[in-house]
């Protein structure tokens, strides 16, 4: 602080402390000697440092002059004395009266340009404004030293603001801020100067930096010496990057003029984006897809980058429309379509029903250390249904077709098929067939021929795909009666998968339940109920899964008797209780069980038991 004597008295307003530093030789015995013999009075620049003193504090201070003038003690007539003079004394021209709240001690000659001393301010010292002056007496003693070093006004002050406190930050909540978003942050620590304080000291100044960016701060409020609140708004284009939070107190006795806290780490979190096929689709126009198409979406920031900065994070998707993670059936039990996983940074899903404006949103949350969740990234899909709701199967029932005589066929026939050992017409066994079959039976090589009991023909779906069928059996029971007792065979589980998955590829599916009719049974019947599911698989996209179009339930129930039992095979024309479609084609819908996909408890197998 440099001030000249020219300003003495200029700002000596009432209630202000005129801190006047007086450097006075107390002895007058050596009138020729003096403690300071340099230039004095106006025009001399001297520096006192520090120049701001806080009540209750002691300071090691110094006065320096640009050119020599201080003399060692040996040349001082008496031990030199320094006075800090308050404004009132100064105004009265009394420069050798110590401020009653100030004690100056340990006055030490350092060099011809510097003296040092200790300033102790009483803890009850009032807040006074700036002024200082120093004077070197020439040994006249008491008041009236003739050699002035320099006098300055309003360059010394006694104020609590002079406390040199370096703030510390102990925590930040949250310690992450979303790019382009305003995040309210609470900084906890010590040594903060509140925004509102009794002495109007400069409040603590927080700052957040990320690389070369000074993050925009608003609503900064130093609530207390231990808490700062503010709103941080990083630039919207910021990537995932580290940030640093600091707080600084202004120092009246600088340099340095700012006492910086420790730097507390934080993170800038980018607003997420959604990509599909390496294109950002969040915020873009609606994307086109088809049912069954694999939809594999990625996001930023990636899981790898999040994991590198946060021990915990979580992702959340919301996907409109009916969607699944996949459908990978086998003959094993239970093939319910898997639900879409909505907690990864990536999304793999299939829409299985069409819809427009299907919104997909994504956000992520990090522990920072409170849970911080990003704004949503949003993408929209228009998913073409490709025939769901209009596709169907038509059923051709053998019992509903006419024979060459123009009469309806009996739905069930007794057919004699080749059986071992000859596997020729010389060795046959009757079978009760839904439809009509000839040629080798099940245990003989060769190719059976004939008319099946029921044929399903698909139509109505888009030609940009193919049909497939899956059949589940609900009921399959066979009852053979004997002269005493009977034998029955029933499904081990229901529904059960018929044959394999899929039952058939293509537009058509065919079936014809049959049972062999051996001796010694007197009657035989079969009750068969199944659901034939129609599926559709896109051929316009890669790696699609089939989507359900619906199912047609159907049945076959017939009975025949063998009057020649137990010795002769003479099975009668079957009596058919039921055959063909049951009801109409049941369109699959999102509300259907398992979204309309067929499910089963395992491959259709049966157990038999006889009571006789």
């Amino acid at each position: 602080m440099r001030m000249t004597s020219a300003r003495i008295g200029k700002n000596a307003a009432p209630l202000r402390l005129l801190a006047i530093l007086v450097f006075l030789p107390l002895s007058a015995t050596l009138c020729h000697a003096q403690c300071f013999d340099g230039a004095s009075g106006g025009g001399v620049y001297a520096i006192i440092s520090p120049s701001h003193f806080a009540p209750g504090q002691s300071y090691n201070a110094s006065v320096t002059v640009p050119s020599g003038g201080f003399n060692p003690d040996t040349e001082c007539p008496t031990p030199a004395v320094l006075y800090i003079v308050n404004a009132a004394s100064y105004g009265q021209g009394v420069y050798y009266q110590e401020d009653p709240f100030v004690t100056v001690s340990n006055l030490t000659y350092v060099s011809t340009t510097e003296i040092t001393f200790t300033v102790t301010v009483a803890s009850n010292a009032p807040t006074e404004s700036d002024a200082w002056s120093d004077i070197s007496g020439d040994g006249a003693g008491g008041a009236g030293g003739s050699v002035w070093l320099v006098s300055n006004l309003e360059a010394v002050s006694i104020t609590p603001c002079a406390l040199a406190v370096t703030p510390t930050i102990t925590s930040i909540q949250p310690a992450a801020f979303f790019a382009g978003e305003s995040t309210t942050v609470t900084i906890t620590g010590t040594g903060f100067m509140p925004t509102t304080n009794a002495n109007s000291c400069a409040p603590t100044t927080p700052s957040i930096t990320a690389g070369s960016e000074n993050v925009a701060l608003s609503n900064v409020n130093v609530v207390s010496p231990t808490e700062i609140t503010l709103a941080a708004t990083p630039q919207g284009s910021d990537p995932l990057e580290a940030a640093s939070v600091t707080a600084a107190n202004y120092s009246l006795n600088g340099p340095p003029y700012f006492l910086n806290s420790n730097a507390e780490p934080a993170d800038i979190l980018p607003v997420p984006t959604i990509q599909w096929n390496n294109n950002i689709i969040s915020g873009a126009k609606a994307q086109n897809a088809v049912v069954g198409q694999p939809i594999n979406l990625t996001t930023t920031p990636t899981a790898v980058s999040l994991a590198a900065m946060f021990p915990f994070w979580q992702s959340t998707w919301e996907v409109a429309g009916t969607n699944i993670a996949g459908y990978t059936p086998s003959t094993d039990p239970t093939v319910s379509p898997a639900s879409t996983v909505l907690t990864n940074t990536t999304l793999s899903t299939y829409w299985i029903y069409g819809g427009t404006g299907l919104k997909t949103t994504y956000n992520y949350c990090v522990n920072a250390p409170v849970l911080m969740c990003s704004p949503n990234a949003s993408a929209t899909f228009n998913v073409a249904g490709q025939g769901q709701g209009s596709a169907k199967v038509s059923v051709t029932d053998y019992g509903a077709t006419k024979n060459k005589n123009g009469k309806l066929n009996n739905a069930a026939t007794i057919d004699y098929l080749y059986v071992p050992p000859a596997c020729t017409s010389a060795s046959t066994l009757p079978f009760l067939d839904y439809g009509s079959v000839s040629g080798p039976g099940p245990e003989c090589p060769g190719i059976p021929t004939g008319a099946p009991g029921i044929t399903f023909t698909a139509s109505g779906a888009s030609s940009n795909g193919t049909y497939s069928y899956v059949q589940t059996i609900t009921t399959d029971s066979r009852i053979y009666t004997l002269a005493s007792g009977n034998c029955t065979a029933t499904l081990k589980q229901s529904p059960a998968l018929d044959s394999s998955y899929p039952y058939e590829d293509g537009n058509f599916a065919i079936d014809g339940p049959e049972i062999e009719l051996p001796l010694p049974y007197t009657s035989a019947s079969r009750n068969f109920v199944a659901k034939m599911y129609l599926m559709w698989t896109s051929t316009s996209v890669a790696n699609p899964i089939p989507v359900p179009l619906g199912y047609q339930q159907w049945q076959f129930q017939a009975k025949t008797t063998n009057p020649g039992a137990p010795t002769t095979l003479s099975w009668t024309t079957p009596t058919v209780q039921a055959h063909g479609a049951v009801g109409t084609f049941a369109q699959a819908s999102p509300s259907s069980t398992d979204y309309g996909y067929p499910t089963w408890g395992g491959l259709a197998t049966e157990t038999g038991v006889c009571t006789n």
Partner: protein, 177 residues
């Protein structure tokens, strides 16, 4: 040219023509379809299910039949040959009431040229895999589209039935030799 030379040339030509004619009339040995056999699991616990997968592919330029009787996981359109590790034919499962254990459905089926169809068969329903050891399996089907007739045979695969108490390894398995 002497008469002898003319006769000699005629004789040589006759032999050549005859030979080429015989060659042209040899029936094609090409089967009308192929059978590719595989197994989803090549290690099976004793008493466990033995599944095989048969892919029939139409190699001809005509539509061929893949019709069969099917039921209870078995496609009866194929002949099955199962041998144990000593080469002995494995016995078929004998059930007191086969009519109760086998549910049949007649399944007409066509295969267009180059089209394939896969059939799964639960072979342990038909054959006894009741001893630990290795079993070799081959399937066949009559070839009605082949001028020479006969059966088309698949490749042979091996299934290991583990000793009692042992379970198959967790690693994925697939056999197609």
């Amino acid at each position: 040219m002497t008469k002898f030379v003319k006769v000699l040339i005629f004789a040589i030509l006759a032999v050549v023509v005859s030979a080429s004619g015989n060659f042209a009339q040899t029936p094609s040995a090409k089967p009308s379809f192929s059978l590719a056999l595989s197994a989803p699991k090549t290690e099976v616990a004793l008493g466990g299910d033995v599944w095989i997968k048969i892919q029939q592919t139409n190699l001809s330029d005509q539509t061929i039949s893949c019709s069969a009787h099917v039921g209870n996981g078995v496609n009866y359109g194929f002949g099955y040959e199962v041998r144990d590790q000593h080469g002995a034919v494995v016995a078929k499962v004998v059930r007191p009431h086969p009519e109760l254990s086998a549910s049949y459905n007649f399944r007409p089926c066509d295969l267009r040229p180059s089209q394939s169809k896969t059939a799964n068969t639960l072979l342990s329903r038909l054959y006894e895999f009741d001893q630990p050891g290795e079993y070799t399996i081959q399937v066949s089907r009559p070839d009605a589209g082949n001028s020479k007739g006969g059966d088309v045979k698949s490749n042979t695969i091996t299934i290991s039935v583990l000793p009692e108490g042992e379970q198959p390894s967790a690693k994925p398995q697939a056999a197609s030799h």
